[in-house]
């Protein structure tokens, strides 16, 4: 992060309040000890460490947060949340930011991660259980990375690791659940 003057007023808190409202986590407990950043296995790829991202939320720097890659790189390993001395659930905060970004219709820095999540849920709506082969094909098509992982995929196919045909067990139940959730979220 470069140094710059940050103006904080009441409006700044609307963002951290939104994180409390949607994710239920109050970032104001964080005293910036840095432990979450130290244990994060993916920090080496992040532009802001988890500690810095929490700080940015405290300061209400919404654009800085939304433009960061950090939450899209989080592997959800929960090391940070487990070790935080202030009991801040950092991993949940990162999920919350992702959910808020979609509500605000903001584009992620790593679109493929979001695409994966959406394909996954799309797949569930059809099949109820994950039809891995179908999902991989859809994902690779939509990200135009069809050849990436081809070698591994072929080997796995040969070993009959995937079921070739989807099973439709439970698809109907999942579709109903997700439809009701969507309705609630619109309300």
């Amino acid at each position: 992060m470069t140094e710059e003057i940050v103006h904080i007023d009441e409006k700044s808190f609307t963002f951290s309040d939104a994180v409390v409202a949607v994710g239920g986590i109050d970032t104001s407990y964080c005293y910036q000890c840095g432990k979450c950043a130290t244990g994060c296995p993916v920090a080496y790829e992040m532009d802001l460490t988890p500690t810095q991202l929490i700080h940015a939320i405290q300061l209400g720097l919404k654009d800085l947060v939304y433009n960061s890659k950090t939450m899209w790189l989080c592997a959800a390993c929960q090391t940070c949340s487990t070790r935080c001395p202030q009991d801040v659930d950092i991993a949940e905060v990162l999920d919350t930011v992702k959910i808020l970004m979609q509500r605000d219709k903001k584009k992620p820095q790593l679109p493929n991660v979001l695409k994966f999540n959406k394909r996954f849920m799309g797949n569930l709506k059809w099949f109820g259980r994950l039809y891995e082969l179908g999902m991989i094909a859809m994902l690779k098509l939509s990200t135009r990375k069809f050849t990436q992982d081809m070698g591994m995929g072929m080997k796995m196919l040969k070993k009959r690791k995937f079921s070739i045909w989807p099973r439709f067990k439970g698809g109907w139940a999942v579709r109903k659940i997700l439809r009701r959730v969507k309705k609630q979220e619109k309300a």
Binding site: G24, D95, S163
Partner: protein, 311 residues
């Protein structure tokens, strides 16, 4: 002993070795697993990024199937599903509004009192832990194995309540009961990058490589895992590691249930050991080699005598 069983999607597909070996081991131990009828996916790595209600509703829809079966304990072998079910229960218990939304979404009562159990926990406790040695038919004491627990069995500890989060021993204790030697190492609970298996494989290759390197450093013949996602990352990415780092790790990665089954005298075919991408034949050879005596009885006596002498 009878439990409901939630296999989850992976165990019916890429992780079928885990399903098959778990069921075989349970049968030997006298544990009956009854699969939940009409179970659905728990939402896994994706749902929690998109909606908290959906991520809670999917696991709860599965737990809601249990009362009809008359069972209140469910065995969940996949660490990802285990964690998602536990987190959903916790969130329903602590967030009343969320619980209302979930009940509305699944059109069933929230079964947030169901006991969600990982098979390791039942194996590691009485009465099963004492039954294990008597079932061993193959002496595997020559094998050195590191136990990899990954992230989600132990974290977050206040929710999963599984062993000590930073340095768990449950899997070590279970495998030691079969006679296998398990080693101390640093990467028991360090993330392999699981949720990026498909969306950002470079992270997976890097993180999983570090885990395998550490296993090699301490002299492990194999890595034992309890999660199909950890297994996929550690087993199937070794070709990519060779491309990235120049050396093929050649590290067998097995489910702990496969090792248990092997010690119980089951064949590699029964346990689907040939399903793994990384060859396990070196391990099987080693397992079948005559066990070397490490120290003769006299020598052992001598050391214990010396130790006593210091008192």
């Amino acid at each position: 002993m009878k439990y409901a069983y939630y296999p989850g999607c992976s165990l019916h597909s890429t992780g079928q070795e885990f399903d098959k070996s778990l069921l075989a081991v349970c049968e030997k131990l006298g544990v009956e697993l009854v699969e939940l009828e009409k179970w659905v996916c728990c939402g896994s790595t994706a749902a929690h990024n998109l909606s908290k209600v959906a991520a809670t509703a999917l696991p709860m829809a599965n737990l809601a199937l249990m009362p009809k079966m008359g069972l209140d304990e469910v065995v969940v072998p996949c660490a990802e599903c285990f964690s998602k079910l536990k987190i959903a229960q916790h969130n329903c218990k602590t967030d009343k509004k969320l619980k209302r939304d979930v009940v509305e979404a699944i059109h069933k009562d929230c079964n947030d009192d169901a006991k969600v159990i990982h098979p390791l926990s039942i194996f590691a406790e009485e009465p099963l832990i004492s039954r294990i040695p008597a079932l061993v038919e193959k002496n595997l004491s020559g094998l050195k194995v590191v136990c990899y627990y990954g992230c989600l069995l132990t974290r977050p500890p206040k929710i999963t309540q599984f062993d000590i989060a930073e340095y768990p021993e449950t899997m070590d204790n279970v495998l030691r009961a079969t006679g296998i030697t398990t080693l101390d190492w640093d990467h028991k609970t360090i993330c392999c990058g699981a949720s990026f298996a498909l969306s950002k494989p470079d992270i997976v290759v890097n993180l999983s490589h570090k885990i395998i390197e550490d296993a090699k450093e301490v002299g492990a013949d194999a890595i034992a895992v309890a999660c199909p996602m950890c297994h996929a990352n550690l087993d199937t990415r070794q070709d990519d590691m060779e491309k990235e780092y120049g050396v093929h790790p050649q590290m067998p990665v097995l489910y702990f249930t496969q090792l248990m089954g092997y010690s119980f005298g089951m064949t590699p075919e029964e346990l689907l050991l040939d399903k793994h991408l990384t060859d396990v034949s070196s391990l099987i050879e080693k397992a079948n080699a005559p066990v070397e005596e490490e120290a003769s009885p006299e020598e052992e006596e001598a050391t214990s005598f010396q130790f006593d002498g210091h008192h």
